[in-house]
Amino acid sequence: MKIGLAIEQTAKAEQDLAERLWAAGERHKADHDVLHLTKTLAKLSEEHVEKLAPHAERYDASIERQVSKDAGRSRPLAATIEKGAELTGRRPEPALLLLRDLRDLHLRAAEASIDWVALGQGAQAAKDSDLLETVGACHAETLRTLKWTTYRIKTAAPQALTS
């Protein structure tokens, strides 16, 4: 049974996605929708990792759960990053950086998404309906993140690339 491996891989992809969402939000503080939405989506990805934890235990897999960035970051460090975002917020280059970061988020979300697909197939073959239910619920949310990155790139690219 290799389902434990697939759980580990999916959890790692979601953890990675969450971290990159947190980081992108902090880097693009002056793009206020990005700031707020990345937080919301990062929390969802962290929840996905949580939801995989009991399944990991059953399959004797180990997944790394990090302390949420929501609680973790020290105030001075957060303030420094935020100040940096503010200072660069008045320059045009961050529009291109935003595109680059959204692209990266998109690829990370795609990676997590395809991991959910594989895990879901495994869960079906193993007739593990509990796991399948978790996969279904979490994957829908990861697809939503993927859809958002697509949409946000579509709206940001015309101005970023022609100015």
């Binding site: 937080k39 919301t40 939503r144 958002w148 949409y151 579509k154 015309p158 101005q159």
Partner: protein
């Protein structure tokens, strides 16, 4: 001070009392009855109705669309009278309209164009001012292209003017960056209608008030925002068969005071409450299963989303009692004829579109649409916001067309006789908050602001001022007064306003009015349409045959052009003419060959504009705003039914904490409109509400050691203001500040080293609803502290 107004000849109290009693005397009526006429008049002292000439118009001081006759003597506006034949107001006027006309005659009016030289604005000729605008436009077009241009317009111009602006911006310049300040007031109304019914278009009618057995006001302080519609509701509430009234509002507003059930929830939690109400509708089978099966999609998704949302669950989030929530659900679920109204308490709050959609869902689930007394009114904030939406001056394409549907873009290209590629449609039209973001980044370098005052009305004013002051930005401001925004302008263009120009506009229940030119504009001021046409001429915008792109010069010609653009769309104006509006006073769209008399209610036959080929929008994910692809929408809703959009509650982005324990909400008073540039110039209105205040609950005031009148500081992470405290029936933990007050009339007290910041938006958060992009003025964390004891 002005003289008190004369007593009416019938002995009733005159308009002066309408400050103390904004809604006037009751004229009660029962269900299905005719709302009695009561004509409200205010004329300058010594004048009678026979001494003056009367000109037809309607209000542009709120979205209700009250029809007004303007009184003129010797070329001056000298008063107003409510139109007794109006379907909207039956002769009544609210206090803003009774007194606000005096602003037209203010000596402060802009009467000459201004240009900036050496840092100072100086008077200039139209040729010089427009020359500067055109020179900068041409430079930027060749240097950067259409993306360098942004247009930020209003909810206070006329239909013909918005349409002209829409054509010149979208097809002339070819920029995607055109939006209105309607983004702040009505974007969620439009978005929720698109999400639920496939297309914008107000389902209900004000006449539904005459028939409703239950009225629910969600975040809608109708008494102060649409005073005359509140008079209509009050007259029903005081009539023989009083409708039940449910009010959802953290403040004890005049509306809440009349309610059978008042849910004073924590601001920012509307969706949690609404999901619980829907949970109860399902749990008690208060559902019209047949209607839903025949006319709606996605019931299962909604039902499973609200399944865990019990009243107990919502009670914790909203800070309510589960029993109150159950009682509210019973009121909704058992109503025979249900009318719901929604406004800023929902639209400017957390999860705005998601919450507004749940109100639509209530009506879909109960099959209560398109019948007398059964309607939704997703209200508008500003007077002509409806036209901003219709004409595509608001971040949509004209005629409620779908930017993602190539056929719709082709139709538009045909109407305008341009290549489809000239009309940007590679993404949704840029919304206001992104327009200002692009200005901040320096990629928009030309911003033309017409009839709005972002330096007071947008969130986080410190940020907005720094954007407007940026030297990279060429700022054109077109207005009737020097305001806080115009102070930053490179060119100021003096505009004519209501009563000084001809045109049409449309209210929140699709009622189209004609507004006559009653007097000449002051000095060299010109109508907004003349200014836009002049710009189009000077820029030489052409269609693909080399003919002028803007093919009209008079308002009536523009209206005829707009009718062509509206043809075949829900907002079909094709059978309306100026002549008919002069004879019939008002007509509700759609008005075309099929419905020549207009249409009182949409969706009477559950025929929605939701088919994939006709819908205005393919729908969005309400959490992120991510747009559906056409194929996704086609799979979901192939037959064009209503869509039961579901969304889960998530906590607000900036919850209160130890440092900032209060939830700030901003709002309105019945005596002022927008940033007071007009209403503060009417002495009675100014005297009624001369300065900002901060509302606190008695318990919070106690804890802070604050009594009525003490100066308090309201501070967020963005900025702070100081305001005298008012102790009211507001929910504990919530502080309310009206947003009207800026700095143009502050004089010595203006902002500065020793000045007092008083604009509520100094403190508000830059955050917007993911779907409607409407800024969230009604949820942000603040600290409150006493600064100074009350004087005297």
């Amino acid at each position: 001070m002005t003289e008190p107004a004369p007593t009416r000849s019938d002995g009733a109290r005159g308009p002066a009392d309408r400050i103390a009693e904004p809604w006037g005397e009751r004229t009660p009526y029962g269900a299905g009855g005719e709302w009695p006429v009561r004509v409200d008049t205010n004329l300058e002292k010594g004048l009678s109705e026979d001494d003056v000439e009367w000109y037809r118009s309607a209000s542009i001081l709120h979205s209700n669309g009250d029809e007004i006759d303007i009184a003129v003597k010797d070329g001056r506006i000298v008063g107003v009278r409510g139109d007794r034949h109006s379907r909207v107001n039956h002769g009544r006027l609210g206090p803003k309209d009774l007194f606000g006309w005096q602003a037209n005659n203010s000596p402060d009016r802009l009467t000459s164009p201004l240009v900036r030289d050496g840092g100072e604005l100086r008077e200039a000729s139209w040729d010089e001012a427009m020359g500067r605008v055109v020179d900068r436009s041409e430079e930027l077009l060749s240097e950067q292209g259409a993306g360098a241009f942004g247009f930020y317009t209003s909810g206070q111009l006329f239909c013909e003017e918005y349409y002209t602006l829409s054509v010149l911006a979208r097809a002339g310049i070819g920029t995607n960056h055109l939006d209105g300040n309607t983004r702040l007031c009505t974007a969620t109304a439009g978005e929720s209608l698109k999400e639920s019914f496939g297309c914008d278009g107000q389902p209900g009618s004000y006449a539904d008030i005459d028939y409703a057995t239950a009225i629910c006001c969600y975040g809608h302080n109708v008494a102060e925002t649409q005073a005359v519609t509140w008079m209509r509701m009050l007259d029903r509430l005081h009539g023989s068969d009083r409708p039940r009234l449910l009010v959802v509002d953290p403040r004890r507003t005049p509306v809440a005071a009349e309610a059978e059930i008042h849910l004073a929830l924590r601001n920012g939690t509307n969706l949690a409450l609404l999901n619980a109400l829907l949970h109860e509708l399902f749990a008690n089978a208060w559902i019209d299963d047949e209607y839903v099966a025949a006319h709606a999609v996605d019931r299962e998704e909604l039902e499973s989303t609200v399944a865990p949302c019990t009243p107990e669950w919502a009670a914790v989030i909203c800070g309510l009692d589960p029993g109150e929530i159950r009682a509210a659900a019973e009121l909704i679920g058992t109503a025979e004829r249900l009318l719901s109204t929604v406004l800023q308490g929902v639209y400017q709050s957390h999860q705005a579109t998601a919450a507004a959609c749940q109100v639509n869902n209530i009506h879909i689930l109960r099959g209560m649409l398109g019948r007398e007394g059964c309607g939704v009114l997703q209200m508008n904030g500003q007077p002509t916001a409806q036209n901003t939406r219709e004409t595509g001056a608001n971040g949509d394409l004209p005629g409620f067309r779908n930017w993602a549907n190539d056929e719709h873009v082709d139709q538009l290209a045909e109407v305008w006789n341009v290549e489809p590629s000239q009309i940007p449609h590679y993404g949704p039209p840029t919304h206001a908050m992104d327009i200002f973001r692009y200005c901040e980044q320096g990629s928009i370098r030309f911003l033309w602001v017409s009839a709005t005052n972002p330096a007071v009305s947008l969130p986080e004013l410190g940020r907005i001022r720094s954007i407007l002051a940026d030297e990279r930005l060429f700022l054109v401001v077109q207005d009737i007064f020097m305001n806080e925004t115009a102070a930053f302008a490179d060119v100021v263009l003096p505009a004519a306003t209501w009563g000084e120009k001809l045109g049409t506009f449309t209210n929140a229940d699709r009622t189209v009015h004609l507004s006559e030119q009653a007097v000449e504009p002051p000095g060299e001021a010109r109508s907004d349409m003349d200014i836009f046409c002049d710009y189009a001429d000077r820029m030489g915008f052409r269609d693909k045959d080399g003919e002028p792109l803007v093919k009209w010069r008079t308002p009536e010609e523009a209206f005829e052009a707009w009718k062509g653009c509206s043809r075949g769309r829900p907002c079909d104006y094709t059978a309306i003419t100026y002549e008919r509006l002069r004879e019939e006073h008002d007509i509700q769209w759609p008005c075309n060959e099929e419905s020549p008399g207009g249409t009182d209610r949409l969706y009477a036959d559950a025929e929605f504009w939701a088919h994939p080929d006709v819908c205005e929008d393919y729908g969005k994910d309400l959490l992120t705003g991510a747009a559906n692809e056409p194929h996704e929408y086609r799979a979901l809703n192939p037959d064009g039914k209503a869509i039961l959009k579901a969304a889960e509650y998530i906590p607000p982005h900036e919850p209160p904490d130890e440092e900032r324990p209060f939830r700030l909400t901003t709002g309105r008073t019945v005596f002022h409109f927008h940033t007071r540039t007009k209403t503060a110039r009417a002495p009675e209105l100014q005297a009624a509400a001369p300065d900002v205040w901060a509302e606190l609950s008695a318990a919070d005031a106690d804890r802070l050691g604050v009594i009525e009148g003490d100066l308090v500081e309201v501070a967020s992470a963005r900025g702070q203001i100081q305001a005298p405290a008012r102790i009211t029936g507001i929910r504990e933990g919530v502080v309310f500040v009206p947003f009207h007050y800026g700095y143009w009339d502050e004089g010595e007290r203006a902002r500065g080293p020793n000045g007092r910041a008083r604009a509520a938006n100094e403190a508000t958060i830059t955050d917007w609803d993911p779907a409607s992009k409407q800024p969230l003025f009604k949820v942000g964390a603040v600290a409150v502290r006493k600064v100074e004891e009350a004087r005297g």
